[in-house]
């Protein structure tokens, strides 16, 4: 059967990986290619690169980063951040990325998902959803603009709409859990994953190997993403997979 995927996420700014990567064995811990190869060797199933460049130059640099990564990496990778048009998608996918991830732009203009899916196929189009619980409404709401703006979309409804438009995968981040390292938002993940027909990647809250097991068992996630615990070497992809194997989770 198909395995559960472990996905390290790297923030890239102006062509360099940022947010404290602590790998002494690397010549250059800020180089996206070196880190990509490192995670590949560790058994990562896929990688996500999030472009957090603020400038136009930074975005152009990202295309070069994608080309370099694609030339050296033999596992799939997704690029997100600042993709606002079909032209942006073309640039990134033609540079060698396997998938692009759309967030704010997809909410503002859902037909962008369809344009991308029609042109490249659904398998290339990931819709990233930032979700936060709204106490008064008693439901999870979709946030845009890096979590700064609340929208009127309820998360499951938006996920379904995104898939109707052609999204082939959902990258679901719990803003309530993000950075807390006390586990993924299992209720949210399970609510979305059981409601949709495409794979769901859980994100936000990973602190240890047990949390990954929970994301798959209770969260019903198809994949789980993490950033800082891998970068700071609090655990490794290898360790997480070893643990999952012992727990009977099917991993590569």
């Amino acid at each position: 059967m198909i395995t559960k995927r472990i996905i390290p996420c790297l923030d890239v700014k102006e062509g360099r990986v940022v947010k404290g990567v602590q790998f002494v064995e690397l010549r250059d811990a800020g180089d996206p290619v070196e880190l990509a190869k490192f995670y590949d060797a560790e058994g990562a199933d896929e990688l996500v690169f999030l472009d957090i460049s603020a400038s136009h130059e930074g975005r152009k640099t990202m295309v070069e980063v994608v080309e370099r990564v694609a030339a050296e990496l033999a596992i799939p990778f997704t690029v997100g951040g600042g993709i606002n048009s079909l032209e942006d998608m073309k640039r990134i996918l033609r540079a060698g990325a396997d998938k692009v991830s759309l967030n704010t732009a997809a909410v503002l203009n859902p037909s962008l998902i369809k344009e991308g899916a029609d042109f490249f196929g659904s398998q290339c189009i990931v819709v990233a959803i930032d979700a936060k619980y709204d106490e008064t409404l008693g439901s999870w709401r979709v946030y845009t603009h890096g979590g700064r703006k609340e929208t009127n979309w309820e998360v499951v409804a938006w996920a379904k709409e995104a898939i109707k438009q052609g999204a082939g995968e959902i990258l679901l981040t719990s803003m309530d859990k993000d950075g807390r390292k006390d586990g993924y938002n299992l209720k949210l993940t399970s609510a979305v994953s059981t409601a949709v027909s495409v794979p769901v990647i859980a994100s936000g809250g990973a602190g240890n190997a047990l949390h990954f097991a929970q994301a798959f068992a209770e969260g019903k996630a198809d994949a789980a993403l993490a950033a800082s615990i891998f970068h700071y070497k609090e655990t490794s992809v290898k360790e997480v997979k070893q643990y999952l194997k012992e727990e009977g989770v099917n991993v590569r």
Partner: protein
């Protein structure tokens, strides 16, 4: 030299980069004339079967592929490129394929015989189970490879199924007959194991010619 067939629907970059890393010469081209200089061909593909076969027919590439394969040149189809090797597909209405392998491309049902639903596309790493020996699977015995697809091949010719993967249904993962080969997964995205398969294909290409 390996000729990568460019008909506008491929993941050409990652396939060519994988060959480059292994130091194999390649040419990416849409011209039969250019491609006929290659000792072996790769037919990549991402997208819909119907669109793909229409383009191959209109450009004369379908005819070229059939002629070249009949003359003994090895061909490797990847993902949609593998599906195109079969007789027909039901994706967006029935359309005829290249007919180099016996069988039909049908939708992954997404529901088990007991009524449980499961996710389609089949996306991610799944395990290979060897079925029939082949030079393409030299040094390959099981292991995981990366799939992304919603349709799969069904065939009554079990001899052509070289390896398969289970995703509720049995998905032919590596197929082959004579000088025609195909992988439903992406070898260029399947880490070391995928590169081994590409290397084996390159060796087949070299052997046939010398």
């Amino acid at each position: 030299m390996i000729g990568i067939i460019d008909y506008g629907m491929g993941n050409l970059y990652s396939v060519s980069k994988a060959l480059e890393r292994m130091n194999y010469n390649y040419v990416i081209s849409s011209s039969p004339e250019e491609l006929s200089k290659a000792k072996g061909l790769i037919l990549p593909g991402v997208g819909s079967f119907k669109d793909a076969i229409e383009i191959l027919n209109e450009t004369g590439l379908a005819y070229f592929i059939k002629e070249t394969v009949a003359a003994g040149t090895p061909l490797l189809g990847i993902c949609l490129g593998m599906q195109l090797l079969f007789e027909e597909s039901e994706e967006n209405g029935i359309s005829e394929g290249l007919g180099l392998l016996q069988g039909k491309i049908v939708k992954i049902p997404g529901v088990t015989s007991s009524g449980e639903t499961y996710k389609v596309p089949h996306m991610g790493w799944n395990e290979l189970e060897n079925r029939n020996p082949s030079p393409l699977l030299e040094d390959v015995d099981g292991g995981h490879v990366y799939f992304v697809h919603s349709y799969y091949a069904t065939t009554t010719d079990q001899d052509i199924v070289l390896a398969s993967s289970i995703y509720n249904v049995e998905v032919p993962a590596v197929v082959g007959k004579g000088n025609v080969f195909g992988t439903q997964f992406h070898p260029e995205k399947s880490s070391e194991l995928g590169l081994t398969i590409l290397r084996n294909y390159a060796a087949i290409v070299e052997e046939r010619v010398s």
